[in-house]
């Protein structure tokens, strides 16, 4: 690499890009209550504080449930779209794909309030319930708008589980373009004749998919799951607009930002989140590259 002004600029730019991430751990381990220089001393106290904040734990659990659901849902939908786009020709292909990819550029606030408006219009008709009975157990599935599954016998509730449906659906909308972009990369390198060869050699369609296609796109699927997980875990606006009284992690964080005394704890939490994101990202990228290598494509760049 030449030591040119351009290289110098690139170096400075990287510092600009990484400035917040570098500062984050500094304050997380800083033994001072104000987020400002100079730094005081080293402490792990803020991390310890995280452990005894029940509201944080609830928000984390909530976020994890949402992120996992979104990852699965968006990746499934992404698989359909990616396969359709790479394999078939159909009318209005560009337009349809462009429409599905729209959330990539649409301001999140617009997506969020339009979903909120629909939710409000639907609210009077809620909850929608459906249930059935097996022996002495009554199983009720309701949309409140959270998706609630409740199992009870005649005396008490045995099992109850709620999924924050509006946020999950909103996040899936947001993650779908990323999922499609990653999976499209996996499918693109897939020679159509591979599948045909499997059929020619006597496999069934399902068998061909399982034995030939799936192994080749699995790395892409894993990468898509991880990326959607990261996006959902970090998404704020939609969760902020649509969450009722159960905040997600970013919404909880947002609330905490108002209290200066809580900021060091937020820094500690942020450090954990950033570390987690980077680790997941590296794993996702390893899988994505492995997928590209398996299908014999060359590396061209990162995500997006």
């Amino acid at each position: 690499m030449k030591r040119s002004p351009l290289a110098l600029f690139a170096g400075l730019y990287l510092i600009f890009l990484y400035a917040p991430i570098i500062l984050l751990p500094l304050f997380a381990f800083n033994d001072g209550t104000i987020i400002a220089f100079p730094l005081r001393g080293f402490t792990l106290g803020w991390f310890a504080d995280l452990a005894n904040t029940p509201a944080l734990h609830e928000a984390t659990l909530n976020s994890l449930i949402i992120a996992c659901s979104v990852a699965v849902l968006a990746t499934c939908l992404g698989l359909f779209a990616a396969r359709a786009v790479t394999r078939y020709k159909f009318p209005l292909k560009g337009g349809i794909l462009g429409f599905i990819m729209l959330p990539l550029v649409l301001p999140e606030v617009i997506v969020a309030i339009s979903l909120l408006v629909v939710l409000m219009l639907l609210l009077p008709d809620l909850p929608i319930e459906t249930g059935f009975q097996i022996g002495e157990y009554v199983i009720v599935l309701s949309v409140t708008p959270d998706l609630v599954l409740e199992v009870s016998n005649f005396h008490r509730t045995v099992f109850s589980f709620a999924l924050p449906l509006p946020i999950i659906l909103g996040h899936t909308l947001l993650c779908l373009p990323f999922s499609i972009a990653i999976l499209q990369g996996s499918f693109q390198g897939l020679d159509q004749s591979l599948e045909e060869a499997a059929l020619d050699l006597g496999e069934t369609r399902a068998g061909a998919f399982r034995l030939v296609i799936l192994p080749l796109v699995t790395p892409g699927i894993i990468a898509s799951l991880l990326i959607c997980f990261i996006i959902s875990l970090d998404e704020f606006i939609i969760a902020f607009f649509l969450s009722g009284n159960e905040p997600t992690l970013p919404v909880y964080l947002w609330g905490q930002l108002r209290f200066p005394a809580r900021l060091p704890v937020v820094m500690a939490l942020g450090t954990i989140l950033v570390t987690l994101s980077i680790v997941l990202l590296i794993v996702a990228d390893i899988f994505r590259r492995r997928g590209l290598r398996r299908t014999g494509q060359s590396e061209t760049g990162g995500f997006l």
Partner: protein
């Protein structure tokens, strides 16, 4: 095969977007929604100087963010594409995308710390003796919003430009050299025009979301950096006037669409002007002058039109200028490069 994701997008994107348009024609009386059709919201939104000021500020900030992001991103994309060895390109792209994936809220909050009165930027500049007193104009105003958003959207600008630079056949640059052009002119005559599709994509992908950004103005914008999304939030949650929020959202989308359509159409005009004088430095300069004049005219009418022509009249004048210009360009200027 496309149907499940398509149905999903229709239900969760098209239907809500249509609903919000519908909503914008209703009114809200305390907690009850009045479903009679009215354009009162639009009348208010278009005549109240506060909304106009906010909308213009959002566009201005988004424009500045876009310009800053793209201008900063181009050299980086160029560096990675032309000066980094092929094996290391993926690593560089990865390095550039990592910050994008880390907590959005915390990243923006940390800019508040970095740009603070006693923050590291002022500290370093004081230390180096570049400034005598801490800079106060870098936080809680439009500047800090621009800096922070330029940071947040960096990869969105770098990646499309990088991709279009990577697509340039290197022998084209050698051919330009071979035909007698030095490095700088080769850049202006070959590299830049061929990278323009990436630059345009970067402009779109940065400009649209930043117009509607909520978090950054709230955290680092102060009162002078408030944008339209903050007003939408206030209308919906604080004032419980959801139809007004919906109206502002629709107007924001419309404004962005019109602005971009105007911009793209005028790029065609500017490129045509540049071509007419044979391109090169002269062409670039002429196109730049035309662009500045074009933008100044529209901005002046938008801001000062109401004083001269009245609120409704100024909208009419604006529509006449922008629409007339669009028709003239679409009619007289041949479709140029990059399909625009």
């Amino acid at each position: 095969m496309i149907s499940p994701p398509l149905i999903y997008a229709l239900l969760l994107l098209a239907v809500p977007l249509l609903t919000i348009i519908l909503f914008s024609f209703w009114t809200q009386n305390f907690l009850t929604i009045d479903r009679t059709f009215t354009v009162a919201n639009y009348a208010e939104a278009l005549t109240d100087p506060l909304y106009r000021e906010l909308m213009l500020r959002s566009l201005r900030i988004a424009g500045l963010v876009t310009a800053a992001t793209v201008l900063l991103a181009f050299p980086i994309a160029y560096f990675i594409s032309f000066h980094v060895t092929p094996e290391k390109k993926a690593l560089w792209i990865f390095l550039i995308t990592i910050p994008f994936w880390t907590s959005y809220l915390i990243r923006i909050f940390l800019w508040r710390v970095i740009l603070a009165y006693d923050g590291p930027v002022n500290g370093t500049l004081l230390e180096l003796g570049i400034i005598e007193e801490p800079l106060s104009w870098i936080l809680y105003n439009a500047n800090s919003v621009v800096i922070t958003l330029a940071h947040a959207f960096a990869p969105f600008a770098i990646l499309p430009i990088f991709v279009s630079l990577e697509k340039i056949d290197r022998s084209l640059l050698e051919a330009a050299r071979d035909l007698g052009e030095a490095t700088a002119m080769t850049f202006i005559r070959v590299t830049l025009p061929l990278a323009m599709p990436g630059v345009l994509a970067a402009v779109l992908i940065v400009f649209i979301p930043t117009v509607g950004d909520y978090v950054t103005p709230r955290l680092v914008g102060g009162s002078g950096g408030t944008m339209i999304a903050n007003m939408i939030y206030v209308q919906i949650f604080d004032l419980s006037n959801r139809p007004m929020g919906a109206t502002l959202a629709v107007l924001a989308m419309l404004t962005v669409t019109i602005t971009l359509a105007w911009f793209i159409l005028h790029i065609r005009f500017w490129v045509h002007l540049s071509d007419r004088v044979g391109g090169g430095v002269l062409g670039l300069a002429l196109a730049a002058v035309a662009a500045v004049i074009d933008i100044a005219i529209v901005r002046w009418v938008f801001l000062h039109g109401p004083d001269w022509f009245g609120p409704a009249g100024s909208l009419g004048v604006l529509a006449a200028i922008m629409g007339g210009g669009a028709i003239l360009i679409a009619w007289f200027v041949p479709k140029g490069r990059w399909g625009i």
